[in-house]
C-alpha cells in the first residue's frame, strides 16, 4: 500500500470499478439489467410481515414496521425530520463537491507529473489509510462540533477514489490529444477546458460514482459520532431516548437516501461515459 510498483495506479482503478461491495446496485453484468428480479423481494416481505405479526413477542427495541412510519410521522410533526434530512443532504453534497474539486486537482497534479506523484505518494497513502472514524476526533479538535467539521471529514473520506481515478485518467490521456490542441494553437485555458477536462470526465465520474456512497455513509457516521445535526444525529438521539420506532424509521430514511444516491450517480456516470467515451 505504501510505495507501490507501477501497476497499482491502474489496479487501484480496477479495484474501484470492481468494488461491487461499495458500488451499489447497477454494477452487475449487463445481461442482468440494473436490478435482479423483483420476485427476490419476497424474503424481505416475508420477514417484515413475520416481524409485524410477532411484534408482541419481540423485545421493545424491535418495534413492528407499521410503527416505523408512525415514528417518522412523529419526527416530522415535531419539526425535526426535515431540518435533519436537509442537514444531511447539504453535508453530503458540499462534501462530495469539495472532494470532487480537490480530488480532480490533486489527481491532475499527480497524474501529470511523476515527480509530484513520487513526492506526495507516501503522504497521500498514509492519509488514505486513516479510517474516517479516526479522523472524526481530530476534526472535532480542530474545527469543533460544527458543520465545517462534518464537511471536512466527508471530504477527506470521499476524495480518494476521485483522486486515484483522475490520476489514472490523466496517465491514459492520449498524447495525440495534447499535440492536437497545441497544433491548433489552443491557449492553455481552452486546452484544459475544451480538450483535457472533457476527456477526463469519464474517469472523474467513475471516481465520483464510487465516492458518493462513501460520502453518504461518512456523513451518517460523523453525525452519529458527534451528533451535530442530520439524520445520523437523530438516529443516535432517538435510540438513546428509547424511541425505537423513530430509530427504525430513520434507518429506513438512510436506506432510501443511499438507494437514491446510487441511482442518481449511476445514471449520471452512464450518461457521462456514453457521451465522452463512446464505443469505438
Amino acid at each position: 500500500m505504501t510505495v507501490a510498483p507501477p501497476g497499482p495506479s491502474a489496479a487501484e482503478g480496477d479495484r474501484f470499478t470492481k468494488t461491487g461491495g461499495e458500488g451499489g446496485p447497477g454494477h452487475r453484468g449487463a445481461r442482468d439489467g440494473l436490478f435482479p428480479p423483483l420476485r427476490g423481494l419476497l424474503p424481505l416481505i416475508v420477514v417484515l410481515l413475520g416481524w409485524q405479526l410477532a411484534a408482541a413477542r419481540l423485545p421493545p427495541y424491535f418495534p413492528p414496521p407499521t410503527e416505523w412510519a408512525q415514528g417518522l410521522v412523529e419526527l416530522a410533526r415535531d419539526g425535526l425530520l426535515l431540518p435533519a434530512a436537509t442537514a444531511t443532504v447539504v453535508t453530503f453534497c458540499v462534501g462530495l463537491t469539495a472532494a470532487t474539486v480537490l480530488g480532480t486537482l490533486f489527481g491532475l497534479a499527480v497524474g501529470a507529473s511523476s515527480t509530484v506523484d513520487r513526492g506526495l505518494r507516501p503522504t497521500l497513502e498514509s492519509a488514505r489509510a486513516m479510517p474516517p472514524a479516526a479522523v472524526v476526533p481530530i476534526a472535532t479538535l480542530l474545527f469543533g462540533f460544527t458543520a465545517t467539521m462534518k464537511v471536512v471529514v466527508v471530504t477527506s473520506a470521499a476524495i480518494w477514489s476521485i483522486l486515484l481515478n483522475t490520476r489514472s485518467g490523466v496517465r491514459q490521456l492520449h498524447p495525440v490529444l495534447l499535440d492536437m490542441s497545441r497544433s491548433l494553437r489552443l491557449n492553455r485555458r481552452d486546452q484544459v477546458r475544451k480538450v483535457i477536462l472533457p476527456a477526463l470526465w469519464p474517469s472523474i465520474f467513475l471516481g465520483v460514482r464510487v465516492a458518493a456512497p462513501v460520502a453518504l455513509v461518512i456523513t451518517l457516521l460523523v453525525e452519529i459520532l458527534t451528533q451535530v445535526d442530520g439524520v445520523g444525529a437523530l438516529i443516535a438521539i432517538s435510540q438513546r431516548n428509547y424511541k425505537f420506532a423513530q430509530g427504525f424509521g430513520l434507518i429506513l430514511v438512510a436506506g432510501l437516501f443511499s438507494l437514491l444516491v446510487n441511482a442518481l450517480v449511476s445514471t449520471l456516470q452512464a450518461y457521462v461515459v456514453m457521451r465522452h467515451r463512446p464505443p469505438r
Binding site: V176, S183, H276, R277, P278
Partner: protein, 274 residues
C-alpha cells in the same frame, strides 16, 4: 481515364520561382530516454517551397515523425538548429501550420459533433457569423457536408480522417504537416483519400509535408521526395517527381516515369548511405 500527355514535365505551378515556405538549417534533435539521450536527427537541411507537396520517407525509426514534429513546433530542436516557417523562427506551433495525425480516432473529440470538431481551432479566432460557412467550406472540400451533425464514432476510419483533414483545412493553413495520415486505412479508402488530398492541394495551394511508409503513395502525391537515412538521420536523397498533374490512380501509376521513380526511391531507401 486519359493522361494529358501534353503537360510538360516540371513543377506543377509555372512562372516565377516560388518563395521558401519552410526552411531547416543544421537541425539536430536529441530525445532523452530513461537514463540518457540519443541523437535522432543530425544536421538536417531542407527547404520546402511555397505550395510544394513534399513526402518524407525512410525506414521505421529513421526520425521521419520527429522531423515533422520539429517542423510543426511540437518538438524543440537542439541548440544551433534553425527552423523557419515563412521566414519566422518556429517556437511552438507556428500560425498557419497544422499537424494531421495518423491516429484520427484519438485526435477527434468524441463528445463533439463533426462540425464542432471542425470548429475547434476556429473558436475565438473567427467571428461567430463566419463560423458556419468556414465549417461548411472545409467539410465540402472533403465531401462530408452531409455529416456535420454526426459524431466521429458513428463514422468509418476513412471518414474520421477526412474530418481531421477538414478541421485542419478550416484553419486555412499555409502549411499542412501530415504524419502517415493514411497509414491505418485499407487500400481502397486510402486511394480515395489520396485523390481527395490531391484535389485539396490543387485547390488551396497549401504547402504539404507528408510522412509515409508507402513508396507508391509518396511518388503518386509528391512534387519532391526526401529520404531520411543513417543514424542519427539526415536527408540522404532529394528526388524530384515530375509526373503530370492531375494524377490518376491507374493511368499515372502505369507511366514508365512513375515506375522509374518508384524503383529509384526503393533503391534509395534499401541501400543505406547510398
Amino acid at each position: 481515364m486519359t493522361v494529358e500527355e501534353t503537360t510538360p514535365p516540371g513543377p506543377a505551378i509555372d512562372g516565377a520561382p516560388r518563395a521558401v515556405a519552410c526552411r531547416c538549417r543544421d537541425t539536430s534533435v536529441d530525445l532523452s530516454f530513461r537514463g540518457g539521450s540519443r541523437r535522432i536527427l543530425d544536421d538536417v537541411n531542407l527547404e520546402l517551397l511555397d505550395g510544394e507537396f513534399v513526402s518524407i520517407l525512410g525506414r521505421s525509426g529513421s526520425g521521419k515523425t520527429t522531423l515533422l514534429r520539429v517542423l510543426g513546433g511540437l518538438l524543440e530542436p537542439g541548440p544551433g538548429s534553425l527552423v523557419q516557417f515563412h521566414g519566422e523562427s518556429v517556437v511552438g506551433p507556428p500560425e498557419g501550420v497544422v499537424f494531421v495525425f495518423q491516429n484520427y480516432a484519438a485526435s477527434l473529440l468524441p463528445w463533439r459533433t463533426i462540425s464542432k470538431n471542425v470548429a475547434l481551432g476556429l473558436e475565438g479566432r473567427v467571428p461567430r457569423r463566419e463560423m458556419p460557412s468556414r465549417i461548411q467550406e472545409a467539410l465540402g472540400m472533403v465531401g462530408l457536408q452531409d455529416r456535420a451533425q454526426d459524431y466521429p464514432w458513428q463514422m468509418s476510419g476513412g471518414m474520421q480522417q477526412r474530418v481531421q483533414l477538414a478541421r485542419s483545412l478550416a484553419m486555412r493553413p499555409r502549411g499542412l504537416l501530415m504524419d502517415e495520415p493514411f497509414g491505418s486505412l485499407d487500400a481502397m479508402t486510402k486511394a480515395s483519400l489520396q485523390d481527395q488530398l490531391q484535389q485539396v492541394h490543387q485547390r488551396t495551394g497549401t504547402t504539404i509535408a507528408f510522412v509515409t511508409h508507402d513508396i507508391d503513395e509518396a511518388v503518386f502525391l509528391s512534387d519532391r521526395i526526401l529520404i531520411l537515412g543513417g543514424s542519427p538521420a539526415t536527408v540522404e536523397h532529394d528526388i524530384r517527381v515530375d509526373l503530370p498533374r492531375p494524377r490518376d490512380q491507374l493511368a499515372t501509376k502505369e507511366l514508365p516515369e512513375f515506375l522509374r521513380l518508384r524503383r529509384c526511391v526503393y533503391n534509395a531507401i534499401a541501400a543505406p548511405g547510398g
